[in-house]
Symmetry: C3
Subunit: 376 residues, 3 copies
């Protein structure tokens, strides 16, 4: 059982093309990989009069170190976001879990993302736009949770299911806030060299305990834009969603629709519906890789020395009914990504965001946002 260190030759069969630091013991039973990601963002406001004259700024959106690997057939992952430490315990833990495979099903115990939608499960390194759309970025799908995660995939389908200790939104304190469960399935009716079509569906139930609430709020017009509360519940939250995504050569499309009910102790339930459609076109003919084990797309690898160029467009909408006032928040974004090499990309986008409440209030504005990203 003694273990040393050996050099890993470049292996053609590996799916990982980003590099990073990988070490394998000479008996192959212990593996470790050290990775990192830096996302440095900047906002330049074009029209922020109604947002209260926000400041142009530069800030780290993410600064993560990741250590993951295998030990005697068990997998593990540590990931801490040094640019996102918060809460009473100063924790920046993102994923942290122990995993194994039983009867073809990958099991993980610890903290990870529930299977709540194709965009939610896409790595932040591979997102088409700087921020996820409302469906996954609004707090409806509350990011990392602690519990049991199971998934499996065939050559053209996959599923995932998770049961977890519900944390109250972004609050990472010690409290036990109830239980949540999520299931997701996806299928690829077409999957050839030219055309790929992905359809998927998800359902989840979140049940806060101890009089705690779960709820949704949306930040629009970028990460530093205004925030709009959408509703909350001390009862339960039911969510259903469908995914439709695909590509034809260098043209990709991805869309989701989610319907969420926040049960209320009396009166009408609060209903949220969130949807988006986003389109990408890779100018030099690259094709966006699809990871069937995850059921999500990844960033393209540059085909030539000049890097890969991508044009992108998204329309994003969330509306709330069953409460007074009713709320509509929408966002239009367009821009370009430049993938310089497998580790570095730059993103540039123009975003117009708007909130519209049935009592006549609401704000709108626009900005240009940019990101410098290095990840491995």
């Amino acid at each position: 059982a003694l273990i040393g260190l050996v050099a890993v030759p470049a292996q053609a069969e590996t799916v990982e093309t980003r590099g990073g630091i990988r070490i394998t013991s000479d008996d192959g039973r212990f593996k470790a990989q050290l990775g990192g990601r830096i996302h440095l963002d900047s906002n330049v406001w074009v029209d922020d009069d109604e947002f209260g004259d926000l400041e142009t700024g530069v800030f780290f959106r993410r600064g993560r170190i990741t250590l993951e690997g295998e030990a005697y057939g068990w997998r593990y992952k540590f990931e801490n976001d040094f640019a996102g430490q918060s809460g009473d315990n100063g924790s920046g833990i993102r994923e942290m879990w122990i995993g194994t495979t039983l009867a073809g099903v990958k099991l993980r115990l610890g903290q990870a993302k529930p299977y709540r939608g194709i965009e939610e499960l896409t790595s932040s390194n591979d997102l088409l736009f700087m921020e996820r759309p409302f469906a996954s970025g609004s707090g409806i799908y509350r990011q990392y949770q602690t519990g049991v995660f199971a998934d499996a995939a065939g050559s053209n389908y996959g599923w995932g299911a998770a049961v977890y200790n519900l944390r109250n939104g972004a609050d990472s304190d010690d409290d036990t806030d109830g239980v949540g469960a999520t299931v997701r399935g996806y299928y690829l009716p077409i999957m050839d060299d030219d055309v790929l079509l992905h359809v998927g569906g998800i359902a989840s139930l979140d049940n806060p305990a101890n009089g705690k609430t779960v709820g949704a709020s949306v930040r629009f017009a970028g990460r530093r834009g205004p925030s709009q509360g959408l509703g909350s519940t001390t009862e339960d939250q039911q969510s259903f969603g469908v995914e439709l995504a695909g590509r034809v050569g260098s043209l990709s499309l991805q869309s989701e629709y989610h319907f969420v009910t926040l049960a209320q102790p009396s009166g009408d339930d609060t209903d949220l519906s969130a949807s988006y459609v986003q389109v990408s076109w890779l100018l030099n003919g690259e094709v966006k890789p699809y990871d069937v084990g995850k059921g999500a797309f990844k960033s393209p690898k540059p085909a030539g020395g000049r890097g890969a160029w991508e044009l992108k467009l998204r329309y994003d909408l969330i509306d709330v009914s069953g409460r007074d006032p009713e709320i509509d928040v929408s966002q239009l974004a367009a821009g370009a990504n430049w993938y310089i090499n497998p580790n570095v990309r730059f993103m540039l986008e123009y975003i117009q965001g708007e909130s519209d409440l049935s009592d006549g209030t609401g704000v709108d504005g626009s900005l240009i946002a940019a990101r410098a990203q290095l990840s491995f």
Copy 2:
């Protein structure tokens, strides 16, 4: 003095069998090892009526990354607990020190654990139960301190001594809170293949400054169970303890008794006495390794492909006199550990805890606790 990187062959003479990432320079003068530990716990309450209906929950007990090694004959260690960052400075530092060896004595400057008892010095990866007994887990022995640490060992004995800047309990802020000193010695009268007997003793003095207090409180019935304050002092705290431990084949026993006096400015001093006895039986014939350099036991290595199975039992008691009301806290725990491979184990235990105060108050209850652990 230039240094590169070379592969380390598996070495039969190394005592480390957990793997991990080890790197040595080609002249052997620089070494580094990267390790990690994930302890994921769950509590299921069997009887928590008197504890106020606590919630069943899942949480990280520890999530540490460790970097340690050597540089030109000097040793170093960094260890941060990302699941335990707290205090004004958000620090999760556990061990962080610089060390060397002088005349056969290992010296360390920085933060480490004072030599305060066999269970206190056992790695959290190697504990028999999920939580340490009251003697080391009550705040009587205040974990990591910053100062000077010295220890040495022969083939069947060892000692350690430390002087340190006292921190006020778990408070990791910048204040200087006084001085503490601890000494420990141990001897193994019997140490053959079948039978090992360890006897040890410790003494320590903690002297808080600036009107700060040191004190003890105990959390019983698991990490999320109720807490009971035991006393404190602005004067000084004297502690004496004895250790008796050993094994006969696959059967291990460990016991400690500690007597602590919290001096009071007027009236009687507060006296605490803490004791426990714990027994382990490895079903498949494995033997618990003993580390004579540390004077503590380690986890067994699985002998076969099915892993090692261990049954365990502990009775744990702390009582306080010289104050009103007097306090007794006791705990009975039984369970099993499953060591799947050198890096992964699962723990399961039933715990019954009870506090009993001389004014007739007190609470009792019980739970089932489980841990998934990966460490390297």
Copy 3:
């Protein structure tokens, strides 16, 4: 583009002699290096009556892990200080950036130190004294900022320029606090084996936004000594400085003078002038290396088995005019450094510090300070 791990042979041409963990992919396109530093300090007060009877203490001044390297010609750096995490987001990030080289100019995007003076840019591992002099340690030059950094160097000159999002002193929260810009140039008229002469100059402008302030305060008589506020502004801060440094064999000298104006909305501006001179003599004939790419000195490498010994002396002064009361703070320090090997050094110094206000108040005192340092 697939990448594995290969051993790096010791390379005679590398300038790095500290060791550490370095890994390079077999195609040389991905590189990573893992470093660390532990600075453990102790203060023993000789005369602290006027400081309010401070406590002797032991504390970590720095406890950093660094990951840096290259990816396809782009450079990156992560550095977190686990002993210095603070602020609302619990961040201990020091440097974190993505860099490349364009037309011979090194560009970095992210968080780094503006080019504000030779001592400010000297690595904390290579400082002559435990703390930087007032010119860089007073908050006049506010350490790490987030923005764009550019620098280049020839064989005997160099320059740097930075534009950054101003953070309000040590406050690392999310606010956007304005804009700052700094330029620095240096030239070496003499640069032979025996004699090296460095002259340099800097200018910077800091413009706080949103009614935020920037300002200066100075901590004297060591890191735990008293703090004296020097002034602040909501308008702008202009700074000019000159550097003069050099060595003749084993004798080194370094000096800076900085003049800072804190503009005031009405009345006189507040003027600060800070200067110091420090001298080092390496007893065994070692020569302090100079890094022309950075325009700063580094620690000597021990020539023999007994390590390198260095005697050191500094006089340090800052005075404030244009406000009432006017303020003078001065400090005299003398001591010795022992460089045991390329990774470990010990520092010992006697410091006498004094504040003198024109209203007749002020305090003075003295202490002995020591550091144990391991870095790689």
